[in-house]
Amino acid sequence: MTSESAPSPQTGLIATQVTVRYGRRTVLHDVTAGPFAPGAVCALLGPNGSGKSTLMRAMAGLVPSSARVMLKGAELSRMNLTDRTKRCLYLPQALPAAVHLPVLEALIAARQTAGPARAFPAFGAPEEDAIQSALESLTLFGIPHLAMQAMDELSGGQRQLVGLAQALSRKPEALLLDEPLSALDLHHQFAVMDILRRETAAHQLVTVLVLHDLNIALNMTDFVTVLHEGQMIAAGPPAAVLTPDLLREAYRVRARVEEGADGRKFVSVDGIA
């Protein structure tokens, strides 16, 4: 699970010529992102407003852009939204809404949207494999006990776990996760990173996640890409990319990268630059 050898464009996810405008404002200008290798957990870093979410949405086809997106040799940007989202799934930053719906059903619905419901589906149970993969996914994130609870009875962190379980239950080839740890406590942040690393390696997924915690990026990802003002300013192994100079340029902070007694690196911020 490393990216020592450069991933070949044929096997991973790569987006080229990504230009996105919101009205007159150009958010991303001719960005090339990737290639993100299968089996490696890749972090997308950058300060607020640097275009991370927009880049992910563009790769997933959710905002109009001129991007050409290739996944494992197939051109995603030529597919319709339904086919595209089956292969490459974007998990939005907003938590799933607190609706009056059992968690299990929230997962089943996420699977079933791929096809139309039957004309009178109230008189038929959902497909067996949707229930099965929903249960597997809940177990994966350690929350099967929430299955029959309503979404509007859950905490924010629990809903974030449900959102992640929804995403993985669809078994996509590429996962684009927008701040998947934002509502989680410390234990769950590391638990989710562990799960993502394991699943990414086991199924050779392309996993890209937006992170704000640089120490998690340093120690738990294989590859980082840094965006700044709509441009990609660095990409590579985390220890090589996350230098004091880069942190000053991208995040406008004075920071050191230090090594702990066990050899793990951590970012220590002294103040704003």
């Binding site: 939005p92 809404a97 009056h100 719906l101 059992p102 949207t113 009178f120 309503a150």
Partner: protein, 362 residues
Amino acid sequence: MTPPSPSGSAQPSDTASLAQIRAAYQALLVRRMSILAVLGGAIMLSVLLDFSLGPAGLSPAQLLHTLLHPYTVPASERIIVWQIRLPYALMAVCVGAALGLSGAEMQTILANPLASPFTLGVSAAAAFGASLALVLGLHFPGLPDTWLIAGNAFVCAIGSVFLLDLVGHLRNARTSTVVLFGIALVFTFQALVSLMQFMASEDALQDLVFWTMGSLTRTTWPKIGLLATLGALIIPFSFRAAWSLTTLRMGEERAASLGVNVPRVRRAALLRISLLSALAVSFVGIIGFVGLVAPHIARRLLGEDHRFYLPGSMLAGALILSLSSVTARMLIPGVIIPTGIVTALVGIPFFLTIVLRQRGLS
């Protein structure tokens, strides 16, 4: 995929608890089906009551006889049973179901619990259309006399929904923009109706005020037939969209990221709503409350899986309106109060009882 839990690999106890979850989910599905069945049964009882009560004081035996052998009884009884009692009772169910379904879909696609054909101007637009016919005598050429008012009301009501759709497609429009615009439409059409009332002759004014009260007394068999046919055509499309609508409830961006074509789902739903609710209100006038509360009742009773929520909201709407129709006959003996007046009085206690119950699914 093999399911390791964060703490380790799958345990035999996990398999047992998964079986428990499956059983619990099956039980929930059965429970929801039973709730739908109970609602259906309650509607049948209410229709029966609606059919058998009335100032004429016909006995159940007489009613049954008239129903089965209409031409062996006096014309007055035949008319009471076949032209008044039965059509009113059935129309209450059809209109209630149409408004219940429209309200449920509207609340989902606009992500707003206050959305309904009543609160977003469809009823008010229908009233304005009716007022054009009643006060100014403006109407569409070629319609038979009995359809003139309904025709106008329908066109204006459907026009108001298309305006909502148009606003929804403006640049930078959000769902809240559409809701606000709908509320603005209510006030606009109410002002226009007031203007019409101000200009109206005494007779026209009386007709108009009575129309806006909402009443089932304008029911005819062809109108029931038309509404029922339209419902039968539209409902399968609503039910087919159930999963997409359920996903949409969890957030617009999430639905899109899961492959739901949100603009298309929203537009198709709005088209269904516009046809169904416009036809319903154009036949009976302003009976708006049903479309607002029926979805809330269905949500509390059944949750928001639209496979159950949509039929549940239809049935809840039908039940409220049918019960209102019964109440409208019973409140003052010998007088049928316009149903629109009674709906809120009947609906609010029903609504509060269910919505204020403790949350939870089982």
